[in-house]
């Protein structure tokens, strides 16, 4: 008999498997992508329509695996360096004029960025890099080595910062810019496709467990019908559906009001929560109007 080593990769699978949480429904393929990223300690890149829960994923993974979460939200002006550290030369200069003692140690003026914070964490953290496509086109390239080796060099203090534990990095993108190949090769990739009606029912159930079955199915029918309207600029997505259901509950709308078989009530109540663009609202109203006209003939 061979002794089973405790580091046997097969045995520690149970605690790295992500199976969704009480507030997040994960499909099989999403679970697999996250598990692979957790096991291999590689970044995972998540894309999908706005409102399908990309950012939420990182929060839920951190919650499910009970790890600390660091969030780095990217803006168009964000530089890769800001995620590592920033050297506040102006503050140091000012201090030197005022004769402050802090000035002798350059480390006092190094401000840690989110990546450094995550690298310094005592247990394996989850690091969310949100909407990476908002930044400049070279931004991902500037982070290649940091994400690969999980270390970087601080020139001012001549110090090598290496991750204590390789963080699980979740990167989201809205496809506003294409990402460079070299960057993509280092990541696992998952595209959150728009949920089908069954999955959507599960998602709503997770958020509103006491929802009446009839209201749910009527709401979903109306929702998918709106999504199928051709020519909408922004199709309503999961987060809009959840907002809408919240409104329906708050207003205590009966399920019958959502049934669109009857042409006269074809406009679902409170549809402003679903359509966020005045052109879409016009288009929708016009279609319903045409539809009604046809109904009276």
């Amino acid at each position: 008999m061979f002794p089973v080593r405790s580091t046997d990769p097969g045995t520690d699978m149970t605690d790295t498997r992500f199976t969704g949480t009480s507030t997040y429904v994960a499909t099989d393929d999403l679970m697999m992508a996250v598990s692979a990223a957790v096991t291999l300690e590689r970044p995972i890149l998540v894309k999908g329509e706005p409102g399908t829960g990309k950012t939420q994923l990182a929060l839920e993974v951190a919650k499910a695996l009970d790890k600390p979460l660091f969030e780095w939200h990217i803006k168009s002006t964000t530089k890769a360096q800001q995620g590592l550290y920033e050297y506040d030369a102006v503050a140091r200069l000012r201090d030197s004029q005022l004769g402050d003692d802090r000035v002798h140690d350059i480390a006092n003026y190094i401000r840690k960025g989110k990546i450094w914070e995550a690298f310094a964490s005592d247990e394996q953290p989850v690091l969310l890099i949100d909407e990476i496509d908002k930044a400049d086109i070279e931004f991902p390239n500037d982070l290649l080595r940091e994400l690969d080796r999980m270390e970087f060099y601080v020139y001012e203090t001549r110090q090598l910062v290496a991750a204590k534990h390789r963080p699980l990095i979740v990167i989201t993108s809205n496809n506003e810019k294409e990402l460079p190949d070299a960057f993509l090769r280092r990541c696992f990739f998952h595209y959150i496709k728009f949920p089908d009606q069954d999955t959507m029912a599960q998602i709503v159930d997770v958020h509103y467990p006491q929802l009446k079955k009839t209201l749910l199915s009527e709401a979903l029918n109306a929702f998918y019908k709106i999504r199928e309207v051709p020519g909408l600029k922004k199709k309503p997505s999961t987060s809009e559906l959840l907002d809408w259901i919240k409104l329906l509950l708050a207003e205590d709308i009966p399920p019958e009001a959502l049934r669109s078989d009857d042409r006269r009530t074809a406009i679902p109540p409170l549809y402003g929560a679903l359509l966020k663009n005045e052109q879409d609202v016009h288009l929708f109203e016009r279609l319903v109007f045409l539809d009604r006209g046809a109904g009276h003939q």
Binding site: G10, D29, A33, A36, T39, L40, I137, H190, Y191, D198
Partner: protein, 391 residues
Amino acid sequence: MLIPFFFMLRDGGMNTSITELLTLLEAMKRGVAGTSVDDFYYLSRAALVKDESQLDRFDRVFAAYFRGVEGSLGDLFQEVPDDWLRGQAELLLPEEERARIESLGSFDELMKALRERLEEQDDRHEGGSKWIGTAGTSPFGAFGYNPEGVRIGQHGSRHRSAVKVWDRREYRNLDDSVELGTRNIKVALRRLRKFAREGAADQLDLEDTIDKTARNAGLLDIRMVPERHNAVKVLLCLDIGGSMDDHVRICEELFSAASSEFKHLEYFYFHNFIYESLWKDNRRRHAERVSTLDITHKYGSDYKLVFVGDATMSPYEIVYAGGSVEHWNEEPGAVWIKRLLNTYHKSIWLNPEPRERWDFTPSIKLTREIMDDRMFPLTISGLDEGIKALH
């Protein structure tokens, strides 16, 4: 065992790299996927596919490889023609049933019936016979219902377990196979950047600080300047409709790249040629038009003017009053474009038609003359040349 699969993916037009294959192998070694094929499919997809437009390709190669069908990859990447689908409907449905369905008058009904038929057929295949290319039916047998089936499939999720996930090909409409990514265009457009400092002063101006500090007898006097921003202003005029329909894709790409690259971007549409008015919303092109003169008054001469159009039309549309195909124009298009060119000295025309064909079309020749030969093909290298001409 995965090496042939890897090469098949590459043959299938995916740019999967060795690193990614090694990642996949490592993940399998670490036991991420377990033993089921579904798990393996999800894992290999997460490791090897890096863009949603490639998902459909991946699904097709995966299906082909794991059904043991190799060597027919060339056929796999053809589009499934609608005609074939209709043909298949005729093959599978008996005469009287088809007549009955057609009398219902609904194509959806027809498709539903077809789908059910095909599903039955799928079961038979699972019984053992070959999946693709038996007995003279089309090699797309299992793919056949997909173009419509994707949508219909939403109503029939009880069949989920019957149809393998990769066979459902849910990502079909995301495959765009564009040669020219927006990234390339953006990189090309960056050359047009012109940096200027405006806005809030939030950066240290080192030289000025040293200068002022020295003047201040060594007492620190910090000077700040605004960050440099791309201040180039672009006026984009796009030809839309008619012969431009063939070039919609590349124009969309150029437009999306330009709109995220330039802060000061104004765009207008025209049809075939410039006349007295342009429009911004193509759906309301007849209701909401902007006078061309207003444009020249509103946007200063520091804007750079870029036309995008194939300039392929009857020469009358350029040189004669009343030549426009859409309306009666009091003055010829050539006059209007010259008014624009007089205001905007930096201007180019980007033409999606290949350069070789320009000499065969009189209207392109005419337009080139009007533009003083500043016409460039709408390709990356053409864009580069054009941007040089704009400087």
